[in-house]
């Protein structure tokens, strides 16, 4: 046998090295790592990508072969009143220690999806605050405790009860710490509890305390009625935004602020304040003053009204704004007599005593002594005594109170709770800053899951009723108290028994009516306990001087921060600064210039030995030498949304003269870092452009209502004509309905209730801070806020055009403010409709500009072409993109999704959305009318924004119905106050705005000369 010659491929084969043998069998060798090593592990290698793609394609193909099986699951035993697809409304009450609102809860298939104001309520008159609007989401908050717990570990209710009972029996002194409680039956349950255990003390405190006011008025908030006041002087009380009961006050306030050619009178509102507040923005005369000056102002007003010593009239009212305002306030109050009203937001007992004395001297009709308000009962001194002496207590029960977060001495409470000898029980909904430190967590039902009663004002009662079966294994706090006190009664029966006295006659009928209406008349609440210290004397308060003064304030959305874990509130722009997601230091421009700060520079503010680091926001209207910081932020254990947003300002509050002092002397230093602020509006002025928004003085209006509004004219061959004379498009003819809106800028106070109402109704996603900074917020409705500027077009000659325009962009130091709700104008000649390549936005036969999401391909031409900038683009899948899980979390979980309106779809990524004028409500209203074989009645079809407006600034209706309110306003105000925004572009909106009338000598938005010059004709080119 001859061996065939053996060829070897290389020297390795000849040598037959082990490496060669190892590799010989695998043709491609050991799989190599990516030739180009990647530092980023997340980058998928090409092969993986191909594999995934292949698998993905195959999976998608397979998946699309068979439609998923969907289930239809009916009730086992259908409740009689529930019909799938039909909303039920239940009257209830929202009060969480801040503002009181009587509400109607809209439920679908047994789950609450929206809150609306209860028109039956004599207190809130159908209005609803932004906070109350948003509170429906708190029911579905994923951070809520789902069962009773011992030291954070879930435990059986009975076991917890048993342990607590034993430990309470031997505890000695027991404190129940709560915010203000206005529930008569709850108070009685607490009293019963106190009867069972010796040494029970109920300590009420308010995070936003008005202790001094209570002290000066015998322990109650005076029963203000702003509708009876012709002159309102407010010393730092933000009564339209945050102070005590803003919805109630706004509804009263607006009564005298609405004007028409038949009623050409308005109340006069003079505001002294440090920070630019919502109320200050609405004032006719506003003076920015330091907190330390407030006492002097109160004293001088007191002198003028009570003693008759008038303050001096300043020589130059423009220069000395404060002296001028003081002079005006004093003289007008005196002239108004019992039509005058002074309110003060100060928590200084001396100031409040002076204010009370002034009101008493005026004999003001705007305070109803018979119906004082109970919504604030907190006693700062009692709370301070409790905190300081917490070591003497054997047990403490926190009833929705979170002092570790919202009390300046919270750290002391936290330290005391570390002591295991102290029995600590929390009724709080979440394991918040205080609750997490407690030994026993006995979460209360949400208010929408419970029975309760309320007495916000003497003689006005209201009820809340459960509108959903409790979601978690919680128990109503009152029932817990009763259980521990050995009372086997349910709280429902307990409550009913308590009401027997006041619903005379047939109790069952009276009770049914009260539950149905949500409100009743009668008095159940015992007189509140007197404040600990005696009322201060009317002595001249000493003015503190020196340093930068800090005024701590509340925001309209977040308030005291107890509901901070609500993304709708976090993203609600502050009405004045338009900032979202976080607090900041408001500084006047002069200070920023002097210190060399720019907006967004982080500074360290130190007061009372505590400090916070926050970015700077330059705030026009901020008093010189002062800064402001909002409460309610900087939560650490609120939940996914609120944690680590902003900084907590409560530690900066101090206790002075038996009351929490929300002003302080502060030092500020720059930190060198920057943090961008998420503002939804960064342009501040209207640059003298009347077509945007119009404003006039009451004087002008009285003289001639037809002169207050300026109408655009365009040049045509026949001379100046109305813009609608020349049109490229055919007019629409509406036969059936013509939906339209009228927005009275005189009535709009800018509270933002409509913004949240719209968000809830229309399933609008929350986008978070970064996306707001990217200007991609999704609100269909926004409220534009414009400041006046000192510079006007009349400076062209002195300063040159360019520099004048530059100056016109700057608001003045104490600007006048206009709020303008802005949403899709539903133009009859809509610029968006003509540019859509796929006809996704079209006009309806009822005057609506329709947006069809499923047809939209996302070119965004329409948004480009919209002169009002009201169209919003879905840049992301906000309901599934993990980037938005922390801010828009309610669209991610089954629990949170229960809040979505089932009649409105959740928009997908890549489509435009915008205001639909709540077309789902229009359709429903029409259908109801058709079913009853009649035309819809005015007021039956209301958009969410119009429904939620506490001041009825927004009126919606059918122009084809000549008797509808909107048709009447359109007719009445045509040629007077009615104007269309950007009329010259001839979009012919279906929204009419009514010129704002300000009860002041001048309107600072336009130069008087310019007005005349413009009248001469400066034709727009159409």
């Amino acid at each position: 046998m001859q061996e065939s010659p053996k060829y070897w491929k290389g020297i390795e084969e000849l040598e037959n090295s082990p490496e060669f043998l190892h590799n010989a069998l695998s043709e491609f060798g050991i799989p190599m790592k990516e030739s180009r090593p990647s530092s980023d592990d997340t980058v998928a290698p090409r092969r993986d990508f191909l594999k995934l793609m292949g698998f993905g394609l195959a999976a998608a193909t397979l998946a699309s072969c068979e439609a998923p099986v969907r289930k239809a699951i009916p009730y086992l035993n259908k409740p009689e009143e529930v019909d799938p697809g039909i909303a039920n409304f239940y009257a209830s009450t929202y009060f969480t220690g801040q503002d009181y609102n009587s509400v109607l809860v809209k439920t679908r298939e047994g789950r609450p999806i929206k809150l609306e104001g209860n028109p039956e309520s004599p207190v809130t008159r159908g209005g609803l605050s932004a906070r109350a609007q948003a509170s429906v989401l708190s029911l579905y908050d994923g951070a809520r405790l789902q069962s009773f717990a011992i030291n954070g570990k879930a435990a059986d209710k009975d076991k917890v009860d048993q342990e607590i009972r034993t430990r309470l029996a031997s505890a000695g002194r027991i404190a129940i710490v709560s915010h203000t409680i206005i529930s008569p039956s709850t108070k009685r349950a607490i009293a019963d509890f106190a009867g069972r255990f010796a040494g029970v003390e109920h300590v009420q405190y308010d995070a936003n305390s008005v202790s001094a006011l209570l002290r000066a008025n015998g322990g109650v908030v005076p029963g203000y009625d702003f509708s009876k006041a012709s002159v309102i002087v407010s010393l730092g009380a933000d009564f339209l935004g945050t102070w005590i009961s803003p919805v109630e006050y706004a509804a009263q306030y607006i009564v005298n602020r609405k004007v028409s050619s038949e009623k050409r009178s308005m109340s006069r509102h003079i505001q002294f304040e440090t920070n630019m507040s919502l109320t200050g923005s609405n004032a006719d005369v506003r003076a920015a003053v330091k907190p330390s000056q407030m006492g002097t102002i109160a004293q001088q007003l007191y002198n003028a009204v009570v003693s008759g010593t008038m303050p001096a009239k300043p020589a130059d009212p423009k220069k000395d704004i404060m002296a001028n305002a003081l002079y005006l306030a004093a003289s007008e109050l005196k002239a108004a007599g019992n039509g005058g009203l002074v309110v003060s937001g100060s928590n200084d007992a001396n100031v409040q005593a002076l204010v009370a004395a002034i009101n008493a001297s005026l004999g003001t009709a705007a305070i109803n002594a018979a119906a004082p308000s109970y919504v604030r009962q907190g006693d700062d001194q009692r709370m301070a005594n409790f905190v300081n002496g917490i070591g003497n207590y054997g047990a403490v029960i926190f009833y929705h109170a979170n002092p570790v977060y919202d009390h300046p001495m919270g750290d002391k409470v936290a330290a005391a709770l570390a002591n295991k000898g102290l029995v600590s029980i929390s009724f709080n909904h979440t394991a918040d800053e205080t609750g997490a430190l407690c030994q026993y967590q006995c979460p209360d039902h949400h208010w929408m899951e419970s029975w309760n009663d309320y007495e916000p004002k003497r003689g006005s009662l209201s009820l809340s009723q459960p509108v959903i079966t409790p979601l978690f294994k919680t128990r109503q706090a009152q029932e817990s108290l009763l259980t521990w006190a050995g009372n086997p009664n349910t709280y429902y029966n307990y409550l009913r028994n308590n009401w027997r006295g006041i619903l005379g006659g047939n109790f069952q009928a009276g009770w049914d009516k009260a539950v149905h209406d949500g409100v009743a008349t009668g008095t159940l609440l015992p007189a509140p306990a007197a404040q600990l210290a005696p009322a201060g004397q009317a002595t001249a308060p000493t003015a503190k001087t020196g340093g930068i003064e800090l005024a701590i304030y509340e925001k309209v959305g977040l308030g005291d921060g107890s509901e901070a874990n609500n993304p709708w509130l976090q993203e609600l722009p502050d009405p004045v600064s338009k900032a979202t997601w976080g607090n900041y230091v408001t500084v006047p421009r002069a200070m920023a210039k002097e210190k060399g700060w720019e907006q967004g520079d982080v500074v360290k503010v130190t007061a009372n030995g505590k400090s916070v680091e926050l970015p700077v926001l330059i705030q026009p209207g901020q008093a010189q030498g002062t800064i402001g910081i909002a409460l309610g932020y900087g939560r650490t254990k609120a939940g996914m949304v609120a944690d680590k947003v902003g900084a907590n300002a409560f530690p900066l509050v101090s206790l002075a003269d038996n009351a929490l002092n929300y002003v302080a002397t502060a030092t500020i230093e720059a930190t060198g870092s920057r943090e961008p602020l998420a503002q939804t509006q960064t342009h501040h002025t209207i640059m003298d452009r009347k077509p945007v928004v119009q404003v006039a003085t009451l004087e002008q209006y009285i003289k001639n209502p037809k002169e207050v509004t300026e109408y655009d004219k365009i040049a045509t061959p026949e001379g100046l004509e109305k813009p609608s004379k020349v049109s490229l498009w055919q007019d629409y003819e509406y036969k059936n309905h013509h939906w339209a809106m009228a927005i009275d800028l005189n009535s709009c106070i800018g509270c933002g209730s409509c913004v949240v109402g719209c968000q809830v109704e229309n399933n609008i996603p929350v986008v978070g801070k970064q996306e707001v900074i990217n200007r991609r917020e999704m609100h269909w409705m926004r409220i534009d806020r414009y400041y006046s500027s000192e510079t006007h077009k009349d400076s062209f000659e002195d300063k040159g055009k360019l520099s004048t325009y530059a100056l016109m962009e700057d608001p003045s130091d104490n600007p006048q403010v206009i709020f303008q709700p802005m949403m899709c104008q539903h133009c009859n000649h809509a610029p968006c409709e003509t540019v859509c390549p796929v006809l996704a936005t079209t006009h309806s036969t009822e005057g609506l500009n329709q947006m069809t999401y499923n047809r939209c391909v996302g070119t965004r031409y329409c948004a480009n072409n919209c002169p009002y900038k009201v169209r919003r683009f879905n840049w992301f899948s906000y309901y599934s993109n993990e980037k938005f899980e922390s801010v828009n979390g309610h669209m991610f979980t089954d629990l949170g999704r229960m809040v979505l309106n089932p009649d409105v779809m959740v928009r997908a990524r890549g489509v435009i959305e915008k205001c639909s004028m709540c077309v789902q409500r229009i359709q429903l209203g029409k259908l109801e009318a058709k079913k009853q074989k009649r035309r819809p009645v005015d007021g039956e079809v209301v958009t969410a924004c119009a429904q939620s407006c506490p001041t009825q600034a927004i009126v919606f209706g059918d122009l084809k119905d000549p008797n509808s309110r909107v048709a009447q306003i359109w007719r009445r105000e045509d040629g007077e106050r009615g104007f269309k925004v950007l009329d010259a572009v001839n979009t012919q909106p279906n929204v009419t705005y009514l010129t704002k009338i300000r009860n002041s000598a001048t309107s600072e938005f336009f130069a008087p000369e310019v007005e005349k010059a413009e009248k001469k004709a400066e034709p727009h080119n159409a």
């Binding site: 699309s64 439609a67 099986v69 969907r70 289930k71 239809a72 699951i73 009916p74 009730y75 086992l76 035993n77 259908k78 019909d83 799938p84 697809g85 039909i86 036969k735 059936n736 996704a840 079209t842 309806s844 036969t845 009822e846 609506l848 329709q850 947006m851 069809t852 999401y853 499923n854 047809r855 009649d903 409105v904 779809m905 959740v906 639909s916 077309v919 789902q920 359709q923 029409k926 259908l927 009318a929 058709k930 079913k931 074989k933 009649r934 035309r935």
Partner: protein, 443 residues
């Protein structure tokens, strides 16, 4: 001459084909109209009692009986029959057993009578397993008319009446309708068969005649070359097959068919017409809605008032099935669900995408549309399937074609006037009132 005849033969064939197609289409259209208009059980049933009233002995005018009929079906028929024991006793002879005032009192509040210790009431109550008869808010006159109706129905035979006798009011109105359908269908079929037979005979005759004539011609010797050529001419089928124009036509046809089929296929992606899943409980609409004539709204409680028609909850089943067929394995499933507190998970058949808003009450209550218009002959379905395509095109087509149900509805009065002023001739359809606008269904 003969060549002419031969050519006319092919014309005949063409004509034959066309006729068949046309007839077929007519038949199909007939079927389509039936399916579109639906079958209306209520409509025919209303007419029937008037006829029956003539034979009715005793008191009660025809109107009262007609009114009683409707009331009986709406309120009583779930538990009572005239001549049969259902849940409650058979009602025949009720006016003889009890005086009218007693009956009225009983119908209005039976539990009160039982509680008051009325002897007969207690007896009845105990006799029927202590099953409470619900209270009915009917007026005295209404109850009287129901009694009149019961009287008119007396002695019309047992439960079998409903199924056998075509004319009695107890029968569902749908039976005669189906009869009509069948009759007209049969008629069309007979005509078709006769036509086909005639045509076949004609063709055969013609072929025979042609052959005979050819033979005759072949037998003649006086033909010249050209005639013989024509006579012996044979069609070159292969030539035709190979010719360019033939290939062209076939090719084009093939491409068109493939194109059409693929477009249809693509358009049908996601379509679930005919979807007929098995349900956890073998509930038969044929039995309940068809044979027993239970009103749709009895179970689908909110079909006239809500967006959703409402799939009945188990307690509605229990209204009857606490008494009827309690041993059936299917009904035991309901009992089990109630015992275990686990709702029945039906498989959803009609799935609209989330982006489309549909409201039942708008169509049923306002539009006056029958359930069958969209859901098909539900009363014949043992297992329900998706009858309509539920595509947007299907919706829009109907909105374009259907006139608005404006009669007696104050909402439309002015609109009808305006429409008639503008174009009286055209029907006032849903779409002419904006019913095809995007925001009517998408928001």
């Amino acid at each position: 001459m003969s060549s002419y005849r031969l050519r006319s033969f092919s014309h005949w064939l063409l004509a034959l084909f066309l006729t068949f197609t046309a007839v077929g289409q007519v038949a199909a259209q007939d079927a389509a109209t039936v399916s579109k208009e639906g079958v209306t059980p209520g409509a025919t049933a209303a007419a029937a009692p008037a006829a029956a009233a003539g034979s009715a002995a005793g008191a009660g005018s025809a109107e009262a009986i007609a009114a009683g009929d409707a009331l009986f079906k709406g309120n009583c028929a779930q538990c009572h029959a005239v001549n049969d024991v259902v849940v409650g006793p058979a009602l025949s002879g009720i006016d003889k057993r009890r005086p009218l005032p007693w009956i009225i009192k009983w119908v209005k509040n039976s539990s009160k009578m039982v509680a008051s210790g009325d002897e007969y009431a207690v007896k009845i109550f105990n006799e029927y397993q202590k099953q409470q008869m619900p209270s009915f808010a009917l007026s005295d006159a209404e109850i009287t008319s129901i009694v009149a109706y019961v009287k008119s129905e007396e002695g019309k035979g047992g439960g079998a009446t409903a199924k056998t006798d075509g004319g009695t009011p107890a029968v569902d109105g749908q039976a005669p309708t189906t009869g009509d359908d069948a009759a007209s269908g049969k008629y069309v079929n007979v005509v078709l068969i006769v036509l086909i037979v005639v045509l076949i005979v004609l063709v055969v005759t013609l072929v025979i005649i042609a052959n005979i004539m050819k033979d005759v011609l072949r037998g003649r010797k006086d033909l010249d070359g050209r005639d013989v050529e024509i006579l012996d001419q044979k069609t070159d089928w292969m030539g035709v097959l190979k010719s360019g124009w033939f290939k062209g036509i076939v090719g084009t046809l093939f491409v068109l068919v493939v194109l059409y089929e693929s477009i249809q296929g693509i358009m049908a992606v996601g379509l679930t017409q005919g979807y007929q899943p098995a349900q956890p409980i073998a509930f038969s609409h044929k039995l309940h809605a068809g044979e027993h004539q239970i009103n749709c709204a009895y179970c689908h409680t909110s079909v006239y008032k809500s967006k959703s028609a409402n799939i009945p909850s188990a307690n509605i089943c229990m209204n009857c099935h606490s008494q009827i067929k309690t041993t059936s394995p299917e009904i035991k499933k309901i009992y089990r669900a109630i015992q275990r507190q686990q709702p029945i998970q039906w498989v959803r058949i009609h799935n609209l995408p989330d982006l489309a808003y549909f409201n039942h009450s708008q169509h049923t209550q306002v539009g006056g549309i029958e359930c069958q218009t969209c859901h098909g002959p539900i009363q014949n379905m043992d297992v329900v399937y998706q009858y309509s395509a539920l595509t947007m095109g299907w919706c829009i087509n109907c909105h374009r074609e259907t006139p608005l149900n404006t009669k007696g509805n104050g909402y439309y009065d002015n609109l009808v006037k305006l429409h008639n002023e503008a174009n009286a001739g055209a029907p006032f359809t849903v779409s002419s009132n904006g019913g095809t606008e995007c925001s009517k269904c998408h928001y």
